[in-house]
Amino acid sequence: MNMIVRLLAGLTLWAAAFSLIYAMEGAACALEWHQLSFGPLNAARTLLVGLWILSLLALAYLSWSFWPRARMGGTLDRVAFGAALAGLAAAAYTGMPTATLSLCL
């Protein structure tokens, strides 16, 4: 059972982060948080980029914690590690727009 959880962990985390960021983007635009700012920081942008970085940290930690088993264990341990890395890469790739594109246009 643990094996199954590990196989699914990385990508599930990506899915959660992806949905959360998308939902927050929708909410931020609907509630006009992009008009709000704290000093130099735009509220909506800070929220989105913050979530993105948090998700990257979580996935990086996860991948790192799977590494020892991947080195020693069998095929599925390596797959679990690979899936966590894939989650990390996917999060980096799909979250990039939070930092680079214009808000709510």
Binding site: M1, T12, G26, V79, G82, A83, A86, Y93, C104
Partner: protein, 818 residues
């Protein structure tokens, strides 16, 4: 016991009785798998005929062959039939037939569910065909966008046929997915650890998992739209706080994963056939498993790319554009693993391989145009044009139909016990391949020239005529090829010499049995040591028939097969599956009665079939179980194992858990809808909020807590507390619903209505489950060893408690704060 005796005894236990009664009552996976495949193929032919009519209409400008009203029914039915009644049931049927054989078991975990799934599919599909023959077919397109499909703009019964018929079929898909997941995880040959499973099982495991997550949003959408159409609950009506985009989100949340749900089983077929054709082993097993997992998840992050033009901010589009390009990577990993496999072996150009080459060329093109439309500005141009029609057929026909035709030739001997003899197939392939490309390649071009999709006609003199005419000619070449394919296959059925065992010299277990296989598949169950058991031991089939494996001695008339530990594949217990029964067909008929009454708008009669279903559900569970402990039984040599009735987590528990997972996605989608409407929809806030009350909220939460915490008590106390807690939840929900404003007034009210209804339904199910356990304990069905039933009932109770707590909080708290 010699092989012949064993065969006779097993056949007596597993065979279906002859005659129509036997056919109606059969729960055998091989029979049902073949029935699903045949039914799906018939729907494919019907969908194909509709496609021919579409192309006939579009062949010339200003054609008067079909008017717009007929044309709209044609393409709606073509799309819906191909997606819901052909593709999904086809691979389900294939998986139902093949998986137990590949996994070295004798049947699926829930044979009665397998049968129920097929009947529901047959009845639901027939409803749609009846609608079509009556000229009342749905006509709002296969994605049924609101408000076009809502009552004011589609007043007829057409859309109701779609919503109810498809939901009926989806119920079958969900229960079948549970069946598949549990069977793959639990019902395998001992020794087959997860990393020794044939790749096809991995593909089906992920596919079925995706179905559990992907289909509930569509079912929710259909329920909401039917509520709006039938009773005026305004979920999608912007004037009353609804939002037509909510439908699009729910639909595509299902609709995009759906495409991968269709592709993955076909990819599983390729990963199985291709190495055999190349006389080698697949390259990168672990990589492929990783790629399947990645596809399974990433494909849920694409749905908004169908909504690039609805006016969502560019940043949000960018998330989905990124995910849509990303999903090409695990696909590329698989494609290159396959090509690498071809390189490392000595590929032979046999019939299945020919179709696989057709797959490669077609699917890669579909993938490339897919990457193009994933780029937002390009999609702003190509969206909803004939370019997209071309793209989707390259993916679906290339990625599903070609591999399935390869599968047909590869496994034909399995179904018929005969070998291929006639050579019509090659000609059929070339007609199909050329005809297909001619039909659809041109559609890319005319799409870029500006031809929208779903138009019943177009004017002359704008340069579209030539492409459309050639495309229609191509489609008739294609149709001719398919007709030849049908003839070729039918000939093999009737007139070909018998095949020997394992004609392709493959390594997977499904070839380790006589052809066509007996109803029980294998005389005894092997101990699996590697990914290619037949390669390790080419005489395995004989040894199994001679009883050298597990469960070689039939006993007590039981249908026995082995259940294993999920990850390690260690022998865990003996699964005794139920035999033939009329319950599946009767339940499917009663389910169908509910849908038909809804269709005919006899709403006041619907409680009847619902009560019938509750009663049948009770019977369904009551048919199992035993009043005495049997303890460990021999399985092979000195080894013994318990039967599933005496273990902690029998497949039934897993089945409930996965069904609840699908249910939870449904609930999650409902909460998403509620939150979405609240933040995004126009015409909010509602005129008034519900009358919230701390008392009601407290009562409900208390009830939920008590019902769930009761598990730690001894049986009698647990039952009492459980019932008390459940009753409290029921009262709290009824009170809340009573003090909520009328649902037709605003989407807020309607959403609350559905949430209360959903929670109430589950509390009711929990109540039934608890009463069932109470009765069964008194009747002597439970003991210290036989303890699974209360555990399963507790699962349902906990779920109901969780749902009630969330629903009450989400409804009362915002109203209390305001």
């Amino acid at each position: 016991m010699n092989a012949l005796r064993r065969h006779r005894d097993l056949a007596r236990i597993w065979d279906s009785p002859p005659g129509w009664r036997g056919a109606l009552a059969s729960v055998n996976h091989s029979q049902l798998g073949i029935r699903l495949i045949l039914t799906a193929f018939i729907f494919f032919l019907i969908g194909g005929i509709l496609a021919m009519l579409i192309r006939a209409q579009l062949a010339t400008p200003g054609s008067a062959f079909a008017g717009p009203d007929v044309y709209n029914q044609l393409f709606t039915m073509h799309g819906s039939i191909m997606m819901f009644l052909f593709a999904i049931p086809m691979f389900e049927g294939f998986a139902i037939y093949m998986l137990p054989k590949m996994l070295g078991s004798r049947d699926f975990a829930f044979p009665r569910i397998t049968a129920y799934g097929w009947w529901c599919y047959l009845f639901g599909g027939s409803l749609l065909i009846i609608a079509m023959l009556a000229g009342l077919a749905p006509d709002s397109g296969w994605f049924m966008y609101t408000p076009l499909s809502s009552k004011p703009y589609s007043p007829g019964i057409n859309s109701d046929f779609w919503l109810l018929g498809i939901t009926f079929v989806e119920i079958s898909a969900i229960v079948t997915a549970v069946d598949i997941v549990v069977s793959i995880l639990k019902v395998r040959a001992p020794g087959m650890s997860l990393d020794k499973m044939p790749l096809f099982a991995w593909y089906m495991l992920v596919t079925a998992g995706m179905m559990l997550i992907g289909f509930p949003p569509l079912i929710l959408g259909s329920v909401l739209l039917e509520l709006e159409r039938a009773f005026g609950w305004p979920f999608f009506d912007a004037a009353r706080g609804g939002d037509s985009l909510l439908w699009q989100h729910l639909f595509w949340l299902f609709g995009h994963p759906e495409v991968y749900i269709i592709f993955l089983p076909a990819a599983g077929v390729i990963s199985t056939i291709l190495p055999v054709m190349a006389r080698t082993k697949i390259l990168g097993y672990g990589w492929i498993v990783g790629a399947i997992l990645a596809l399974g998840f990433l494909s849920f992050g694409l749905w908004v790319h169908h909504m690039f033009t609805v006016g969502i901010p560019h940043m949000a589009l960018a998330f989905f554009s990124a995910a849509s390009t990303l999903v090409a990577i695990p696909t590329a990993v698989q494609i290159f693993a396959w090509i690498g496999t071809l390189w490392s072996g000595r590929p032979q150009l046999r019939m299945p391989m020919l179709y696989l080459i057709g797959f490669f060329v077609t699917f890669v093109m579909g993938g490339l145009t897919g990457v193009m439309v994933a780029v937002v500005p390009f999609d702003w141009q190509a969206h909803d044009s004939a370019f997209v029609t071309a793209h989707l057929h390259y993916v679906l026909v290339g990625g599903f139909v070609f591999p399935m035709f390869a599968a047909a030739y590869y496994w034909l001997a399995h179904f018929t016990g005969r070998q291929r003899q006639y050579r019509l197939g090659t000609l059929a392939f070339w007609l199909i391949f050329v005809g297909f490309n001619m039909t659809f390649f041109l559609m890319h071009l005319v799409g870029l020239l500006g031809q929208p999709r779903r138009i019943d006609t177009y004017p002359e003199g704008i340069g579209w005529t030539f492409y459309n005419l050639l495309s229609s000619v191509g489609s008739f070449v294609l149709a001719f090829g398919i007709a030849l394919f049908v003839i070729d296959i039918s000939l093999q059925f009737f007139h070909a010499p018998r095949s020997r065992r394992n004609p392709w010299r493959a390594g997977t277990l499904e070839w380790g049995m006589s052809l066509p296989p007996p109803s029980y598949n294998i005389g005894s169950i092997p101990h699996v040591e590697s990914r290619d058991p037949l390669e390790d031991d080419p005489r395995l089939a004989h040894r199994l028939a001679a009883g050298k494996g597990y469960l070689s001695e039939p006993r007590r008339g039981w249908r026995e097969t082995m259940a294993v530990d999920i990850v390690t594949g260690r022998a865990d217990h003996i699964l005794v599956v139920p035999g033939n029964t009329m319950l599946p067909i009767v339940t499917a008929l009663v389910t169908g009665a509910f849908f038909v009454l809804m269709l005919l708008k006899f709403y006041w009669l619907t409680p009847l079939p619902l009560a019938g279903m509750a009663w049948l559900g009770w019977r369904w569970a009551a048919a199992l179980g035993r009043k005495e402990d049997v303890g460990p039984l021999p399985i092979r040599g000195e080894e013994t194992a318990l039967t599933h009735a005496e273990v902690e987590d029998p497949p039934g528990w897993w089945g409930s858990a996965f069904l609840l997972a699908a249910d939870a996605t449904f609930f999650g989608a409902l909460l998403f809808g509620y939150a979405y409407l609240w933040t995004i929809a126009p015409n909010w806030p509602p005129p008034r909020l519900m009358e919230a009350s701390l008392l009601t909220l407290g009562l409900g939460l208390l009830g939920a807590g008590v019902a769930s915490a009761a598990r730690h008590r001894p049986a009698a106390q647990r039952e009492g507390l459980g019932l008390a807690g459940t009753a409290a939840m029921l009262i709290a929900l009824t009170l809340s619903a009573f003090f909520a404003p009328p649902p037709t007034e605003h989407a807020y009210n309607a959403a609350l209505g559905v949430m209360f209804g959903y929670a109430g339904f589950h509390v009711f199910v929990a109540l039934l489950a608890q009463l069932f356990v109470l009765r069964r304990r008194r009747a002597g069905y439970h003991s210290a060893a036989r303890r699974a039933e209360p555990r399963i009932a507790q699962l349902w109770t906990d779920y109901a408690a969780g749902v009630t707590a969330i629903v009450l909080t989400a409804s009362h708290v915002p109203a209390l704060m305001a």
